[in-house]
């Protein structure tokens, strides 16, 4: 059983992960050609989401080319974060691994990847995509809250469980 502080922080992480997932789905629909436009204050969204950096890698399966886009990875990342957060909201461990460690790993990777994407936007593409920046801010928030929850996650197990 987790602590009340860790629980509260995980509740906030859950909200941020859900919003992040919605943003990532919106971008993924565009990057995969399922929607024709993005609501954006300038052309930055178009410029970034049609740039060469959008495709992470392409595989050929049964003659068809399948590409994993940046936003697809966002959808996967936020979905896992959301499932872990909500599914183990009041638990310390998942598959014998502390949930705090799993969240720290996920959000740490997400945070570093967001930093890399923001670097690409500023220095390579020379445009900022509002939705991508929103996602980076959300992921940074999740990472910061996970770090903040770390002491609470690591605090001694509740007395009742020790009995």
């Amino acid at each position: 059983m987790t602590t009340p502080l860790a629980l509260r922080l995980r509740m906030i992480i859950g909200v941020l992960a859900l919003i992040g997932l919605l943003v990532a789905v919106y971008l993924a629909l565009y990057e995969n050609g399922l929607s024709q436009s993005l609501v954006c204050p300038d052309e930055g969204c178009d410029k970034v989401n049609t740039s060469e950096y959008v495709v992470l890698f392409t595989v050929r399966i049964a003659g068809a080319e399948l590409s994993l886009k940046v936003a697809d990875l966002g959808v996967i990342g936020y979905t896992i974060t959301l499932i872990v957060t909500l599914g183990w909201m009041t638990r310390r461990e998942m598959l014998r691994i502390p949930v705090g460690v799993i969240l720290l790993g996920l959000s740490g990777f997400g945070f570093l990847f967001s930093l890399y994407l923001t670097y690409l936007e500023v220095f390579k593409i020379h445009a900022l995509c509002t939705w991508c920046v929103s996602s980076a801010v959300l992921m940074t928030g999740i990472f910061a809250l996970t770090v903040a929850a770390w002491p609470a996650e690591r605090s001694p197990a509740p007395a009742q469980q020790r009995h």
């Binding site: 009340p4 929607s35 300038d42 049609t50 950096y53 390579k124 009742q160």
Partner: protein
């Protein structure tokens, strides 16, 4: 007061530590609202006032996709006046109209030789890499280099990889495979069919403009387009009628009294037709009368002034001081600010606009008055209402 509150707080490690129901309600609301917004954005792609028929899937758009004014430029990438446009007017146009979201800008390359064809294809190959507009600028500014290259594809790949940071190998592969050759040919065939002549050639919503001009020439045309060309009828009406006429033409007056009112009641007011009036200018008299209509438009009385000039043409023709008659008599009868109207005419505030519209009529080879374009199909003469009705219904039928 303190004890009852603390008694409800979960203690660390207490089995009662659980997520409150309201939390799941918040998550549910966020999910529903977010999903609804995404679904709405998928179902209603932003539709500009003019309709997306102007823009094709092949086009790269600079600016906001839902900008009210569409500027399409046709130019060959080694044309010198076109470079002048890119260097001088384009940056100002971008700053004043594209960046604030008034104009969405489209560029279509014209080709007249093999090197041009390769350069135009390179533009779309660079577009694949997200560098369409950077490539366009580079091609214009370095046309003397790539037109002189023995192997344009190799030269473009090497140079743009170095300067623009493109993937040179991918660009060269794209060019060797002639991925965009058909697209370039299609764009050129369409441009020739619509009579694109001098370069650079522009279409600004419903107005054509040929040649490189300073922003002062674009500004009134863009402003007019932003006002919806003072069109009557619904913005998304399936049929657009453009009329060219002048008050001194008897057939124009005949048409305005017979067929036009019926078109208005049966097709414009029912949302099937959008109606645009364009002055046909042949001399100083018709130029000043046309300017007066746009001056009245500034005060919200465009169509009223148009009708007034037709109804009072004899008074205007006999007038010793046309500005006085238009401003003091016409303006006063329509309840306009006559001093503002007079200044507008004396300062020639719409002189450039009327000159551009006159050139637009020439580019479209409008033969005389009255003349009409019904969804682009020409009709010259004061035909009876039935003729218009038949043509409109042909456009309306699938």
């Amino acid at each position: 007061m303190g004890s009852p509150r603390t008694s409800h707080q979960p203690k660390r490690g207490s089995p009662s530590l659980r997520v409150p129901v309201w939390y799941y309600a918040i998550l549910g609301v966020i999910t529903v609202v977010g999903a609804a917004l995404i679904v709405i954005s998928l179902q209603s792609p932003e539709k500009p006032e003019l309709g997306d028929d102007l823009i094709s899937e092949d086009d790269y758009i600079l600016g906001q996709a839902d900008a009210p004014v569409t500027v399409i430029e046709w130019a060959s990438l080694d044309c010198e006046p076109c470079l002048a446009h890119v260097v001088t007017t384009m940056p100002q146009l971008q700053q004043e109209y594209v960046e604030p979201g008034t104009v969405r800008y489209v560029f279509r390359p014209l080709v007249f030789d093999e090197a041009n064809h390769v350069a135009a294809e390179a533009l779309y190959c660079a577009g694949e890499q997200g560098h369409f507009w950077e490539m366009r600028d580079w091609l214009f500014r370095h046309s003397s280099e790539w037109t002189a290259a023995t192997d344009a594809a190799q030269f473009l790949a090497e140079q743009t990889a170095r300067v623009l940071g493109l993937d040179g190998t991918a660009l060269e592969d794209c060019l060797r495979a002639e991925q965009y050759s058909e697209r370039v040919d299609r764009i050129n065939a369409e441009a020739m069919a619509m009579g694109v002549s001098r370069m650079p050639f522009f279409r600004i919503n419903h107005t054509l403009l040929a040649g490189a001009y300073p922003l002062d020439v674009f500004r009134p045309v863009i402003d007019l387009a932003q006002k919806g060309d003072y069109a009557m009828g619904e913005a998304d009406a399936p049929v657009i009628i453009m009329e060219w006429s002048r008050p001194t033409c008897g057939y124009c007056r005949q048409y305005s009294l017979t067929a036009k009112p019926l078109i208005e009641t049966q097709f414009v007011e029912t949302g099937q037709v959008r109606y645009i009036f364009r002055p046909y200018v042949g001399d100083d008299f018709s130029r000043l009368v046309a300017e007066s209509v746009y001056c009245a438009g500034d005060q919200g009385k465009f169509w009223e002034m148009h009708e007034w000039t037709f109804a009072n043409v004899e008074r205007l023709v006999e007038s010793a001081d046309l500005v006085q008659t238009l401003a003091e008599e016409g303006g006063a009868e329509l309840g306009l600010d006559t001093a503002v109207m007079r200044d507008c005419l004396l300062q020639g505030r719409h002189q450039v606009l009327v000159a551009v519209l006159q050139a637009d009529a020439s580019l479209r080879e409008i033969p005389g008055t009255p003349s009409f374009l019904i969804n682009g199909r020409p009709l010259a003469g004061a035909y009876p209402f039935e003729t218009f009705k038949q043509m409109i219904e042909e456009e309306l039928s699938p």
